[in-house]
Symmetry: C2
DNA sequence: CTCCATCTGGTACGCAAGTACATGTACAAG
DNA sequence: CTTGTACATGTACTTGCGTACCAGATGGAG
C-alpha cells in the first residue's frame, strides 16, 4: 500500500527504510522476544526484501540493538508525560501509581522492558540502554523526594512490572499508592 | 568419568538419566538462556547421546519446562533457609537485606529468575512456576508483617533483582534495609 | 549525457537445529 | 532359555537460519 509504483520496486529512501526496519524489529521483539528475532521475520514485517536487513545492519546483533535502542527512546519519551503529570500533582504517590497502572495496561510494555533487562544481562553493551528508563524515573522522582527514596520507589516499580508479567489480576492500586507513600517519605 | 564400563555404553538407569538431563538443562539455562537451549547442547553437557534427550522429553518445550521446574524447586529450597534466618532475627529488614545481598552474590541466580519471568510471560503454563518464589517469600514475610507489607517487600526485592542485573555496583545494603523497614511497617 | 557510488532485490551456500527412526542392548517375566 | 518391553545410541532427513553475493536500478556529480 505504500508502494508508489505498480512495478513493485520501491522508491529510493534509505533513511525511511532503515526506520521501517527498526520499527518492524521493535514490534517483533514484543511478539517473539529478542531471541526470536530473525532477518526474514523483520524483512516480512517491514515489507522489504531480505537483503535490505543485512544491507542496513551488519549483523543480527546490530539489528536487535537498534530495535532496543528505538524502543528505549519511545519509553523515555513516555517518561516526559510522567514528569508533567507529577509536576502538577498534589498526591504524588497516587498519581505515580495511576501512571504505572496505565503503563501496565498493555502487557506489551512490561514484556518489552523485561526483554531488555535479560538481553542486557547477557550483552554488556546493552546495559546503558537498560538503565535508561530507571535512571530517568529516578531523576523525575528526585524532584519530589530524597534521592534514596526515589531510587527505592523506582526499584519497587520495576518489581511491580515483573510481577504483573506473570499474574493475571490487575494491579492493586491502593496498595501500590500506600507503598510508594512510605518509600517517598 | 561416570561410565562404569570401558565399552562406552552406559548402565541402565532411567531415573538417573532423566535427572542428569534436567540438571544439565538447568545449568545451560543460566548460561545461554531458555531460548538458547538446544537438544545437542543439553546432551553434550549431560554426557548422553542426542537421542536420549528426545527419548525422555517429547519436545524442547517439555525439556525447558522441566529444567525451569527443577530450578524453581532449588530456589524454593533456598527459601527455607531464609525462613529460618528470619525466625530468629531481631531486625527482620536488616536480615532480609543481607539475605538478598547474598542471593545476588552470583549473578546467575538473578539471571535465572528473570529468565523464568520472561519465559512465563510468553508461555502461560509456566506462570505458576514463576509465581512460586514470590509467593513463598510473601508467605514467609507474612509472619513478620501485615500481608500488604509482605507483598510490597516481595515486589521491591524483585525490583532489586532486575536492577542488579544491569548494574555493576554492589547492592546498597543500608538503603535496602531502610526501604524494607518502611514497607514492613 | 556519462559515470559511479549507493541502494534495491533476488538467490544461493553452508550450517545447525528439531525431530524421526532403525538398530542394538539389558533385564525381568514366563 | 526364550521373549517382550523398556532403554541406549547413532544417523538421517527436513527446515529455517545468518550471511554472502550478484545483477539491476537510481540519481546526483562532472
Amino acid at each position: 500500500m505504500n508502494s508508489p509504483a505498480p512495478d513493485g520496486r520501491s522508491k529510493r529512501d534509505p533513511e525511511g527504510r532503515r526506520r521501517k526496519i527498526v520499527e518492524a524489529a521493535g514490534q517483533l521483539v514484543g511478539e517473539v522476544g529478542v531471541a526470536g528475532l530473525t532477518h526474514r521475520l523483520v524483512a516480512a514485517r517491514a515489507g522489504v526484501p531480505l537483503g535490505a536487513t543485512t544491507y542496513y545492519f551488519t549483523s543480527l546483533d546490530d539489528l536487535s540493538a537498534a530495535a532496543l535502542r528505538h524502543l528505549t527512546e519511545e519509553m523515555v519519551a513516555g517518561l516526559d508525560a510522567w514528569e508533567a503529570a507529577l509536576e502538577g500533582s498534589a498526591d504524588v504517590p497516587a498519581t505515580l501509581a495511576g501512571l504505572m497502572a496505565d503503563y501496565l495496561a498493555d502487557r506489551g510494555q512490561a514484556l518489552l522492558e523485561t526483554e531488555l533487562y535479560v538481553a542486557a544481562a547477557r550483552r554488556p553493551e546493552l546495559r546503558p540502554l537498560a538503565r535508561t528508563w530507571g535512571d530517568g524515573l529516578v531523576r523525575i522522582l528526585a524532584a519530589h523526594a530524597e534521592p534514596a527514596g526515589a531510587r527505592a520507589a523506582a526499584a519497587l516499580l520495576d518489581g511491580v512490572l515483573v510481577h504483573a508479567l506473570v499474574r493475571d489480576e490487575p494491579l492493586d492500586l491502593p496498595a501500590l499508592r500506600a507503598s510508594l507513600t512510605k518509600l517517598l517519605t
